[in-house]
Symmetry: C2
Subunit: 256 residues, 2 copies
């Protein structure tokens, strides 16, 4: 058996999220079908991070085991010839037995892109969150620091996990402005459902002066979703990479 | 009569180019219809630069005359509420009588985006030209310098103009690399049909080592389209702005 790691890029607009769902167009479904066609047999694809409908990936990581002897250096181009235009394989590598894109991940890296100007954009309409009111990036970053470290993020969770708790370790949460674009970097070991988008929505409200910028700790302590802010739209979110033992795979969105 | 100048952004993928054509979805057609609806009467829209199907604009400039008293500061948001998602107005200004987006233009600015890596991109599929072979930007820029200044660009022209000759003044033609992206800046007073795309295609061949990098002057002198290179695809081209007497309007594509 060989274990393969793929670095996958997708435009989330046309997918019902990453996870396989019968009769729906999902990233795992379309990718799994192409791999099975190429390697002449079904494979079980594991991905590093589940993404919702509309969420993009510059570097989603997928892994699978196969008995196929298909040459490694031809895997990415051959899959790209089979895959639709909104899904592409950047790289394919062979990994030691036991490697899992999901369980071997030591950190996950997201980017959240906000277009902060009065008028909407025609070119970026499915690629950013359009926020009209001025965002003060200094206020954003000062307020976000209270979220770093290990906390119960239940207040920032969409659907609660079936197993395990809602405590997570947030390692990076910082915004940077370039002209009319604001890019937020979010990294941590693992994330709850919609956690990045609710964190970003809440911090945008603070940075726009619509919510107390010193209230993040109080929202965490309340452990109540109704105390946090809006869920920032899927279109602005990018799954940007994963840290594994051998290396960090991270691809910045081409926005600035 | 008032004269209005609009700065317009569009994703060219869904348009049959800029110029009005009956029964086809064009930028001028869709924009003209929205302006006519809002201002309650037909208007004659003039644009700074014709763009082909698939070509984008970060800052196309349009002008029209109207007798409407519609408040200027509400014009951009009101038009954006009427326009489809792939067309947006960034700004609206009132200009002195006699101003024309086309005839008052002193220089036109284009950007051409190339993704220079082995695998295609899912997120940028309609936004860049994917060129597989490595492009040497230093060779590109050394070779491109021979095209600067006033020349007969007939060898780089698609459909020949009905009126006037094929002599044009090229002011800027330079490539810059950031990672896997190469961005080409092209500026001049006016351009022939497909001139930017044939210039870029020819220079890419030179910068990939597939054509003599010292041959640009000879191609110009030959005045024969068959001597130049391929027409780089529409998806990589952006109409990025115009220089007028009062100011230069220029918006870089959000790609790096």
């Amino acid at each position: 058996m060989r274990t393969i790691r793929l670095v996958v890029e997708y435009d989330g607009s046309g997918f019902h999220g990453l996870q396989f769902q019968p009769a729906l167009r999902t990233v795992a479904g379309v990718l799994g079908e192409a791999v099975a066609t190429l390697l002449r047999g079904p494979v079980n694809i594991t991905a590093a991070g589940r993404t919702d409908a509309g969420v993009h990936a510059t570097a989603q990581i997928a892994s699978f085991a196969t008995q196929s002897a298909f040459p490694l250096h031809k895997l990415a181009p051959a899959l790209n010839a089979l895959l639709p235009h909104d899904l592409a394989v950047r790289e394919a590598e062979e990994m030691p037995a036991g490697f899992s894109a999901r369980f071997s991940a030591q950190a996950r890296h997201y980017r959240y892109a906000i277009l902060n100007r009065p008028q909407r954009s025609a070119l970026l309409r499915t690629r950013v969150h359009h926020a009209w009111h001025p965002i003060d990036v200094e206020i954003f970053n000062r307020a976000a620091r209270a979220g770093l470290g290990e906390h119960d993020f239940r207040a920032f969770c969409g659907v609660l996990p079936e197993l395990g708790g809602t405590v997570r370790l947030l390692r990076e949460f910082e915004a940077e402005r370039r002209g009319e674009l604001v890019m937020v970097r979010v990294s941590g070991v693992g994330f709850l459902h919609r956690m990045v988008r609710v964190l970003v929505g809440t911090l945008v409200e603070m940075a726009q002066g619509r919510r107390d910028p010193d209230s993040l700790r109080a929202i965490l302590d309340a452990r109540d979703r109704r105390r946090a802010g809006y869920t920032a739209p899927a279109a602005g979110l990018y799954f940007a990479g994963v840290t594994y033992e051998d290396r960090t795979i991270l691809v910045e969105p081409h926005l600035f």
